[in-house]
Symmetry: C2
Subunit: 324 residues, 2 copies
């Protein structure tokens, strides 16, 4: 069963139509009092699906925090604190917990957030982590549904590092042509997403729509275009790669890994094209790499993702979700 | 490792000292704007620990909702909506989801709540459910830390039904002396807690401190007394049992199952003794059974739970957590 279909068919009818955006956005937004919103994001990580049980507990902790921070900041909102629910199996000892909590502690400082509550339970079957990130906000969140025809399309950071890092773990022979520095960089990018806090101000100033990239750049662009009901035109040649990813792609030529591979945790957003130079200037100031990769086309009932040759970008056969 | 120790040693130092009550209460409370709080509760349920995988998915859904509703209403707060995170393993088919969502839907109507968001992920290893229940409130929550010397101690509903129900599942020979009606009642009480929404008004009017009972009555009374820093004096003869539990206990004489068995999902609270007759009258009106089972004793650095003979109530050897 496809998770998106399950959500659409079974969970959406149960959802609050206003507060939850019908489950069609990254976050929920609850109006508490005039001009005071609380924004919520909930993401779960399962051993064997989102990380390996043998991963450094500090990295598991940070990844759990960061996938949620990524969601929240991509909506133009600053996180306030989080709830942690963790199911611990028998392989977990006190040392593991200690290191896991050190990871939490370091990221609490990095993002200026605090633990607000949660639940610790024991599990017969593996490790399971749910984080619910909370933000207080006097602004509305930036939605997925509000991209406008003629807008430019931007992406933060580099694309593909994490998916390439994972491929290097799964198939060591792929590491052959890479320098040790590049290998370490790509592995670290897989283990530890690094959402850029500073992007919040830029998004609040300029973005007409936004979301973070988790399922793979083209999947997420498709989601954004469909939620807004507009075609997207993407120039594949403009997609930004790190030097390490560039070195990998030069030898392997497997661009689908970058286009469709997941876990980038970057932000994609749309903005009025007249603000282009302001956006680039702002991005320089906050030291966040921002690249224009396309523009928003016509309104459509069934929006299409086009490439630079005006050809339809189809789902790759190699499409994967996380690392299954 | 003991979960309470893990929380105290590793998670409490990471927690927000005000909003989370240092992780020493059932809920967290975030002040959003003057006199506007949002109250949060997060509980996870794991297959094999909190329910059996073979249980009716409708019951699993309702139990997941209700353990959270129980927490929230026991703090004098009305739930508004919830986030659901669910990890589905390969044994889950569409029919399962459909029935699970029917359970959610029925309880959404019962408690007037809506789904606000969440996450659906796939799992290699069994079913995990986390629910985060949200309430908007213009009141402060009723805390665990505010029981006052001289207060009366009350409990809602009946004690022991769920733990006895579970013992009947685990050891069928225990069913011998019971009528079919009593067996069905006790099994249903295990499968489906039934927190009484109406108790919110009573708690708001009279309770000085409160919490719900999940770990077993005496464990939870001990927690309440320790968080408030006062001795509790409990009259075991006053503990209320259903007819079915009474019939079981008459034959088996295993009162520890009622005293220390978990999953009651009732409310324990303290109140000024001069309000006793008002409390009993209010309880009759809202059709919730309320029983006085003791009184609050002196302030203590290390509070003790005493029985009717002034003997210390120790942890039973038969203490169990959920159904391990």
């Amino acid at each position: 069963m496809d998770e998106k279909l399950i959500i659409k068919k079974y969970f959406s009818p149960l959802s609050h139509p206003v507060d939850s955006f019908g489950l069609s956005d990254d976050v929920a937004q609850i109006n508490v009092k005039n001009n005071s919103q609380v924004v919520f994001n909930q993401d779960s990580l399962v051993a064997g699906t989102h990380f390996f049980s043998s991963d450094d507990p500090k990295h598991i902790a940070k990844k759990s925090i960061r996938v949620n921070v990524s969601d929240v900041i991509s909506k133009g909102v600053i996180p306030y604190g989080y709830f942690l629910s963790i199911a611990l199996d028998k392989t977990i000892n006190e040392n593991w917990i200690k290191r896991f909590c050190r990871g939490l502690s370091e990221d609490q400082k990095k993002y200026n957030i605090k633990l607000l509550g949660g639940d610790t339970v024991s599990s017969e079957n593996g490790l399971f982590i749910t984080i619910n990130m909370i933000s207080k906000s006097s602004h509305e969140v930036i939605k997925r549904s509000t991209a406008i025809t003629g807008n430019s399309i931007y992406v933060s950071g580099f694309i593909g590092d994490s998916a390439i890092g994972l491929s290097l773990i799964k198939n060591k022979s792929l590491q052959e042509h890479l320098s040790e520095k590049h290998i370490n960089y790509l592995l670290m990018k897989y283990h530890l997403p690094d959402p850029k806090f500073n992007i919040v101000g830029l998004l609040r100033s300029f973005a007409s729509s936004s979301m973070d990239t988790t399922d793979g750049l083209f999947h997420d662009l498709k989601t954004l275009s469909q939620t807004s009901g507009v075609n997207f035109h993407i120039d594949k040649n403009k997609i930004p790669y790190s030097r390490a990813a560039g070195a990998f792609l030069k030898h392997n030529n497997n661009f689908d890994l970058a286009y469709f591979g997941g876990d980038d945790y970057q932000t994609i957003f749309t903005a009025n094209k007249k603000n282009h130079s302001n956006i680039i200037e702002f991005a320089k100031k906050i030291k966040v790499k921002i690249t224009q990769i396309g523009f928003v086309g016509d309104k459509q009932r069934k929006p299409i993702l086009f490439d630079e040759n005006n050809e339809r970008i189809s789902n790759s056969i190699n499409t994967f979700k996380h690392f299954k």
